[in-house]
């Protein structure tokens, strides 16, 4: 981004970025622009995902689902958001007003900020952070703070129980998730999202998921842990409708509640993006390089950079949608765990398996290392 703005300043405006006084202002403008584009993209994607989930759920339950607004009901999310905005914004009089107001923004920010490093295509991510994966894992920890705050500040038993459950569950599952996320890092040798994707190939057998048995195992361990961290069924105890109304956001109304819902759907998308990056080869397509396609018969198709990036973007989003659809299928198939089962599963099964998996991977990779031990 910085290089791009520098180049624009030099070539289009004819100034030296080092000495031109408006350079910083242009940087700021660029950042704002990227932020708005990403947030809008996230909002639209999450909205479409909500429609997608409702339609799939309807198919599974032999219903029809939303189909009135727009073709096949695609624009349903706009109507929903409009309705939420028009609703009265109630704040319970006994709640902690300040905390109650800021809680949804913690949840939102935690998810929106992960977009900063998501690799949508070659060079198509807002920043190319060399600790990208670590950044994702740490910034999503902000979400549980928001959930806790909302559960506490609502001054309602349902919210409080939801917040407590979310805290226990998310903190428990972050340990196996953090352990098992080291496996693709070991395999790629980098924390950079782009490096991890580059270490994989286009064909499915070049993906980390199918390269090795421990990659395969860690895909499922991480998937279960991520479902639990994202409060998705079968681990949706914090917002268990049948027990806790809506869990930690029971008392929220209007767009604050909409933000929680939005965060929930954007989390599905982020989990999908994370799995696409770590295990499913990211934006790689078979026979595709940065210059275009090179098929084994010797035929090559040269493509401009923009076309390559667009194809990669589409590939990435299709893979993300596949992972999201799998999550949705799980949500509409499985019943909820009991609270003690969830925690026992985390500590007595997930953590040992994740540790064993990591140790195995480390030993195998270490034994293949060349050079002095």
């Amino acid at each position: 981004m910085k290089e791009l703005i520098d180049r624009i300043i030099i070539q289009q405006l004819g100034h030296d970025p080092q000495s031109w006084p408006l350079t910083q202002a242009l940087y700021l403008l660029g950042m704002l622009l990227v932020g708005m584009v990403l947030t809008t993209f996230g909002a639209v994607f999450a909205g479409l995902l909500s429609w997608w989930e409702r339609r799939i759920a309807a198919r599974i339950q032999s219903r029809i689902g939303p189909n009135r607004v727009g073709p096949q009901g695609v624009l349903q999310f706009i109507a929903d958001a409009l309705k939420l905005i028009l609703k009265e914004d109630l704040i319970p009089s006994d709640s902690d007003h300040i905390l109650f107001r800021i809680a949804p923004y913690f949840v939102m920010t935690g998810f929106i900020l992960t977009f900063v490093v998501l690799p949508f295509g070659y060079r198509l991510s807002p920043t190319n952070m060399n600790v990208g994966l670590f950044y994702v894992v740490s910034i999503t920890a902000l979400v549980v703070v928001g959930i806790l705050i909302s559960g506490w500040s609502s001054n309602s038993k349902w919210s409080l129980f939801g917040g407590i459950r979310a805290a226990a569950q998310v903190v428990s599952y972050e340990i196996p998730a953090g352990t098992v996320i080291l496996v693709p890092i070991l395999m790629a040798g980098s924390l950079n999202m782009h490096e991890i994707i580059r270490a994989q190939g286009g064909a499915p057998w070049d993906w980390f998921m199918f390269q090795t048995p421990w990659g395969y195992a860690s895909f499922f361990i991480l998937f279960v842990a991520m479902l639990a961290e994202g409060n998705r069924t079968p681990f949706d105890l914090p917002e268990a409708e049948s027990e806790l109304i809506a869990g930690y956001y029971t008392e929220y109304t209007s767009m604050k509640m909409g933000l929680f819902m939005f965060a929930e759907f954007i989390e599905i998308a982020i989990i999908g993006a994370l799995f696409t990056t770590l295990f499913l080869g990211g934006y790689n397509l078979p026979y595709m390089s940065d210059a275009g396609f090179a098929f084994p018969g010797g035929t090559t198709v040269a493509l401009p950079h923009v076309a390559v990036v667009l194809i990669q973007l589409v590939t990435f989003l299709v893979k993300v949608m596949l992972v999201c659809s799998f999550q949705i299928l799980i949500r509409w198939s499985l019943p909820r765990f009991r609270y003690d089962q969830v925690l026992r599963f985390a500590w007595k099964f997930m953590l040992p398996v994740a540790l064993a998996n990591l140790t195995l991977t480390a030993i195998v990779l270490w034994s293949h290392l060349k050079g002095p031990m």
């Binding site: 198919r59 599974i60 339950q61 032999s62 219903r63 029809i64 509409w332 198939s333 499985l334």
Partner: protein, 189 residues
């Protein structure tokens, strides 16, 4: 014969096998079931058939209404097509939801039934379909039919049905019970 103590067996005793208790195969089985239903319904939609069990109201209506379903009101007619209603207001009086509004007219030519409804309107947004109006009617002028009216609309005033719709019921027989012959003068329309 005295039976020794026998432990009572409950209908909901846990009977999971080891295979089921290992959880994972059952998860996979559940996913297979739901995705099977999903694919079947999706295939039906794609091939132009209906992949849902629900009725797509108001475009579709259920075909399985009971024959005695109280769907909407109908006003019966005399053999010459005039409403049998004599605007006595008994249905409007007995109606617990107070949804029937009748405006009576006077026809001096019809000696037997000088009162007739000029306006007969029912508010279906409030009607509870109890059928008391049918019970109260002394003339068998109002009945309830199996069909349901097409009401969905963006305007609540569209939920009023008037004489034109209530009189649209034209069954082949039993239009009205035959009246004893008497000094009735037919009103020419």
């Amino acid at each position: 014969v005295k039976v020794a103590y026998e432990r009572k067996r409950y209908w909901n005793e846990p009977t999971l096998t080891l295979w089921e208790r290992s959880y994972l195969p059952e998860i996979v089985r559940g996913l297979v079931v739901t995705s099977g239903v999903f694919l079947r319904n999706m295939g039906r939609w794609i091939s132009g058939r209906k992949g849902a069990l629900t009725t797509y109201y108001p475009e579709e209506q259920r075909a399985d209404f009971a024959p005695i379903n109280r769907g909407k009101h109908v006003l019966t007619q005399r053999p010459d097509g005039r409403p049998q209603c004599i605007a006595c207001n008994m249905c409007a009086t007995v109606c617990p939801a107070k949804v029937i509004e009748i405006e009576a007219g006077f026809d001096p030519d019809d000696v037997a039934h000088p009162k007739f409804p000029v306006r007969f309107e029912i508010d279906y947004s409030r009607c509870i379909f109890c059928g008391l109006c049918v019970e109260a009617c002394p003339e068998d002028a109002i009945r309830m039919a199996r069909e349901i009216p097409s009401l969905p609309s963006a305007n609540r005033h569209q939920m009023w049905l008037g004489l034109d719709e209530l009189l649209a019921w034209n069954p082949q027989k039993d239009v009205a019970k035959p009246y004893p012959p008497g000094p009735t003068t037919r009103r020419t329309p």
